[in-house]
Symmetry: D3
Subunit: 179 residues, 6 copies
């Protein structure tokens, strides 16, 4: 069987046909547009004129594996509202995660999705691995703990972090240089 990955491709077909079904689809989708320049903002994204919605607004293919040749040995392809503008206001997104053997997706949180606990993924197998995840926001965000703490810009006072993490100030400064 010659199978291939078409994740989120068919979602596009479904939604575009669906709009043909509904004589008053204004509220059923709200395709995101970039904020107009020099203008006001809302929490989330403005919609484009619904009459201008087209199939491409609902389409994204994650058929190709991500490159895991990096220090943590994983690659996350987030499929959020930036990739599928039709997800705007629907409260859902997804991700393809590729892992090299023993690869990890380091400890992180999603500040705008149901699962906000600190969590991570670890490929305990000797082969590559592939996962799909669903997230309960069109824009869940991700905060990788180590980056946020030691790589923030502007940097956090090293003495503060040394006390919080019970680390030597020198180690904190080394970490801040790396991240």
């Amino acid at each position: 069987m010659k199978s291939f990955v078409q994740a989120f491709v068919l979602l596009a077909l479904a939604s575009s046909f669906a709009s043909a079904f509904d004589p008053s689809p204004l509220q059923d989708f709200c395709v995101a547009i970039d904020e107009p320049k020099n203008a006001v903002f809302v929490n989330g994204k403005f919609c484009k004129d619904p009459k201008l919605a087209k199939a491409e607004d609902f389409y994204f293919s994650v058929k190709m594996p991500g490159d895991t040749n990096n220090p943590v040995g994983s690659n996350v392809s987030a499929v959020n509202v930036d990739k599928i503008p039709g997800l705007n206001t629907l409260g859902i997104s997804a991700a393809r995660i590729d892992f090299a053997p023993y690869g990890q997706n380091p400890p992180h949180i999603h500040p705008r999705a149901t699962e906000g606990l600190v969590h991570f993924q670890f490929n305990i197998g000797k082969t590559n691995a592939l996962a799909f995840a669903g997230l309960s926001s069109q824009n869940p965000g991700v905060i990788t703990i180590a980056d946020a703490v030691f790589g923030s810009n502007p940097p956090i006072n090293p003495d503060f972090l040394a006390k919080a993490f019970m680390l030597d100030v020198k180690v904190v400064k080394d970490l801040q240089a790396k991240f």
Copy 2:
């Protein structure tokens, strides 16, 4: 590269480690249990004792393709709270959909998820296809239109359906026999 599909496998790892992170995890998950016999019901599902949660409550593999050898040429593997009890109260689920060439997932709605429009999927390619979908409910449900209308039990009055669908009563009765 020897890649394989591990959808929702790593979600399990993430959540089980996450519970180790949180000293008071009661509210962060609520693993579904079946309703106790002869007892009251709530909207949704009761939780098991959180101290009894285990990795299997968060785990489901959809590595194997579904069988598309059927009249519509598709197969939906719903990964909802019945398959992953740990999804209870999280408002999210997923599905793997396999398609034979020109296979279809016929017109349907999800009564308990954001996308409630009548929609369908159709594989326009000459090869098998594979899709993953995310749904904004741990129990989104599915109502296939043709089944619901012509296959309901008890059956709907054929004269009523004949008027609603502008079909001959005889055609309606034939349909009711098939569905």
Copy 3:
């Protein structure tokens, strides 16, 4: 007793007096206005300047029966945000439904209200009937199944529908011509 139907008339009075009660009513209502031309859109409707709100924004009378002289023998007067702009953001609307004897409101769904199951109403009596319904959205929408499936524009491929509904392609084409 000379009684008459004033549904949603008094709702208007209530709300207009209520605004006189509240020294800071900005958030308590958001009277819908049409989208400004050539402009951005949001999910839902923009509000008019609250200082310009007037009683008519909250008022709609459904005193007159709807005309049921049609093939299905019913008439739905939707009282949604298009009729009462003051319903905007309040998450509620209503409908008056008139039925001729044995009239039906054919199978349909409301894509943006709590009750999204396929349902219908049927007047089993020998007299006219009158009903009022409440819906949990200011813009619940309605998708009549038969129209959506066989009357969509652009039309759905007849071969696809023939397979989905187990109908002869010729019957599907006849239906598409009628709807």
Copy 4:
């Protein structure tokens, strides 16, 4: 035309047929039952076993006018979850309000519905009037201001109320005797 009021009767038909449509209706309704004696409580009401749901759980007729022969000249027939147990968890209810000429529904709030401003209705006509209202909760509650302030049990300290309402203490005590 011999028309009659069947408000909320057809809602019942819709829902009972709807359950026949859905092969897994557990989440789509949750018919309220009274709390079991000597038992725990939840916020809202427990559901009865969905297999025991019947048409009567979704049915209530408000065909008969309410008696407006009282000091305020109005009568509210609330159609909430206590009257239609099938409304449980659906977030919606309704009311029939009958008014005598110049009758009033005195200033009140609904603590558990969207519209929580102090509001009232007043029949400015010389004839009886009839209104239907929709409310965004299956159990919106009603607090009539005058009753709540001057008729609470146990009574509020008259000196406190005298200061709050800038009334003479004697007037407050008179009011507390009346309400």
Copy 5:
């Protein structure tokens, strides 16, 4: 110990540092701006350009006691979105309430917060008192019952209020003059 009240000061620090932590903070805050002149409105407030957010947007000190030298003997310092624009869309606000001995915060409701029952506070002690309250909206509003009923502008018909409160019309007119 020389302690002092810094309520909501540290909240500011937390949020400003937090924004340094998050590489894509657009959705995590939405600092309110005043509506642009001659423009459309939304339910709530527009956001300023997130790149222009600064610490002062998240800061408000209620270190100073409010002046309780007034007829009711209390003073409420609401700390809502008008005081801390960074609270916009976060669904939370607070208040500092100062009481003179036997001071009262008269019967009122918050139309846009979880607690919408008629309630009041009363300092039963012989000393000044200080309280902090949290409210589940960035703009909960307050409707003081006596003001709303007897001080509305335009005034409510005195005959109507006389019937609602079982007061003499003359007393109602006196109250309307005072409020």
Copy 6:
């Protein structure tokens, strides 16, 4: 002026009087009770019989400063549903935070409240400081980053953490011993 802190004391008074105001208060509060032994669980907490609610269920005083004599120089007194059972289902809680000079509340998140970014508080003054914070959940939880990562039980594989934080494995093991 002899002022004292009575935070959340008056909330209690408000709510207990409020219940006297409302003839049908069942839904307005749901005082938490501990889970019955050997029984099912729900997401959140069951309510006690509303007829048994008493003032103490809504009362908590944080008049006394917390002890800041500890390595981080701060003390958080969480006032959540465990302290005020009447907060159950209301979606709000609060905290008193005391700081010694240069004391810190180390980097943390609240997994079940609106503000889920990594944040911290730091007393930049030379004196003790006092803050009150409101949180948008009756049970917001707290996950202190350093504890969660290096102090989890069971411990996380040190090699995994060394890679995630770019630390030497020996440093990770030292940290795990301290936390």
